[in-house]
Symmetry: C2
Subunit: 360 residues, 2 copies
């Protein structure tokens, strides 16, 4: 693989915002959408970072993503709300929905907001973390295009349906779990394919529905819609708990898709002109249960207990979720964000097409 190109956060943000604004996205919505993408890169989740800008550009050009916020309230109670996303940018709708959940949590200790008729919203963790400055626990989930094969199945029916929960700590970093419910993302199968390496059992199945170590076969079966796809966390069958990962993916679809009335399972992205993605957001005030400082101190204690516990042979460190990303974020903020040269090339092409100057 070619060496990465390092770009500083500020010009990268400026470029993405300009691109989105050229396509009719208002400045503040362009800022929010860009923020979700750049924060993904800063946290090291480059699969969900600016590398995806092209998809949003296509979506806006083709019209199935609306440049201005078309979301509207469908039903509301003191503690809950249902939004129709109006096919707006997932990041704009997601941010609005999580802000609403936060406002409700400040009012009633807990807020739950479901969203239907939205688009891909980026990293789930972004929304969960929005609760942190308010000292709230944040939860965020979304369904996604089918890519995961249910236990004993042969075709992908569920998305990689991520779950994120963020909880504030005191001196330790906040706990930020942000995980897809598949064992690995498709991107990882693609990396092994390019390297000509076999993938481990437990990552994916081919068109027979059986675990395969051949990434080319898996990707080919997916591309030609012959079947196969990613395995849920826990891998093939039930021996290593694959049915649990499958259950978590389904849980996410129940809360994101069924609860909101969005598309679910095979229906997500079935209509390319209306992906009808569903999201779920929850904010919870720990201060409604115990003094906030006690909660935050105990978060620290638990994190320290895990990190200080004895290490496995050959290992030097135990991590708490989110920790690696916070370290990466600080480093990338100072030193710039390393981008794959192919991503930079694609971004430059977008810039040329839309007459936006590439900014480094």
């Amino acid at each position: 693989m070619a060496e990465t190109v390092t770009i500083h956060e500020k010009p990268l943000r400026h470029f993405c915002e300009q691109v989105l604004m050229k396509l009719g996205v208002p400045a503040e919505d362009a800022r929010v959408t860009t923020d979700v993408l750049v924060v993904a890169d800063l946290r090291g989740i480059d699969s969900h970072g600016v590398a995806r800008l092209g998809r949003y550009v296509s979506g806006l050009k083709e019209g199935f993503m609306k440049p201005t916020d078309q979301s509207r309230m469908i039903k509301e109670t003191k503690a809950t709300a249902l939004l129709d996303g109006g096919q707006s940018l997932g990041q704009v709708v997601g941010t609005r929905a999580m802000n609403l959940a936060i406002r409700k949590a400040k009012d009633t200790a807990v807020g739950v907001v479901a969203v239907r008729n939205s688009n891909h919203y980026g990293i789930a963790g972004y929304y969960a973390m929005m609760g942190l400055p308010h000292n709230l626990i944040g939860v965020s989930m979304t369904n996604a295009a089918p890519l995961v094969v249910p236990t004993f199945g042969r075709i992908s029916v569920l998305g990689t349906n991520p779950i994120s929960l963020a909880a504030p700590a005191m001196n330790e970093k906040a706990f930020v779990l942000d995980m897809a419910t598949a064992t690995v993302p498709r991107g990882k199968v693609e990396v092994y394919n390019r390297a000509g390496k076999p993938i481990p059992h437990g990552w994916a199945v081919d068109e027979t529905g059986r675990s395969s170590t051949d990434p080319a076969r898996v990707l080919n079966a997916l591309a030609k819609r012959l079947g196969g796809g990613l395995l849920p966390l826990g891998g093939e069958g039930e021996d290593l708990g694959g049915h649990k990962g499958y259950g978590l993916a389904l849980l996410v679809d129940v809360l994101s898709g069924v609860l909101s009335g969005a598309a679910t399972g095979l229906q997500v992205y079935a209509d390319e002109k209306r992906p009808d993605v569903g999201h779920f957001f929850l904010a919870l005030d720990p201060g409604a249960f115990r003094p906030l400082d006690e909660f935050r101190r105990d978060m620290d204690r638990l994190a320290r207990e895990l990190k200080d516990s004895p290490k496995a042979q050959g290992q030097e460190r135990i991590y708490v979720h989110g920790e690696k990303s916070f370290v990466r974020m600080e480093k990338f903020r100072n030193e710039g964000i390393p981008l794959d040269p192919r991503v930079v090339q694609a971004l430059k092409k977008i810039g040329t097409d839309l007459s936006v100057t590439w900014a480094s």
Copy 2:
């Protein structure tokens, strides 16, 4: 293994209730505690069924489980509550807490109840399913004695910390996910040990913190507190997503332990006289988001879509979570509950000690 002994539900319930009442548990609390145990057996989760009665008998005799309900409200808002379990039976406190969450959900569309200072509460699914007759989505989690080794760790710091979510359907069975966040329960390692069979990689680590296929070594290391324990869902290291299972176990401890102010991590059961287990309960009204019948119909549609989707080579059926257990429940209700003869022997011994007639 010797053949199982089949006992009908009714006499089994009667026996357990009598035993509990002999130890000072009021009739209604004995009924509830027994119900949680017998429902576990009926659903086929025999590790959490009447086989555990002995532990409750010991707890009550030794005094760290209180026979009468000592739980009390510590803090309450319209949508949330914190209960101190007062070291009462986990089933009694759990039922009270979930009923409270249900009442709140009927009032404010969502209810969240955290519990500290409780005891082992049986299967998480029992409480999540309590929402079903009310057409509510139910969620239940609990922390537990340390048995799971964090990714890159060498000793168990977290419990098998289960997550359960139940959601009502229309004509299909309700979706009931009820899963420990470890790959397998300790009982499964014990079964392989008794059979003299190696365990698969990804189930457990020995005292070096590395995945082991030797169940005797794993169990010995655990018994002698040398280290080792169960692996989180996803197995060893990060290759198959073990850090995700570890993150889920931690999420459960944050919501059950830290939120409530109960013990967390290594502190759970650290004081044998005060296990200080923490639970988390949530009830959510789908009717606050969309017409209830639409929600239930879409639950059916998603379940059917999964079950009707093509099967993997060599497989005949795709299940939706809870389905197997509902079938088993019907069968066992009609034909009786199959119990391990060693369990029956232990129950009879309890009966003899307390002058309660064994009832089959």
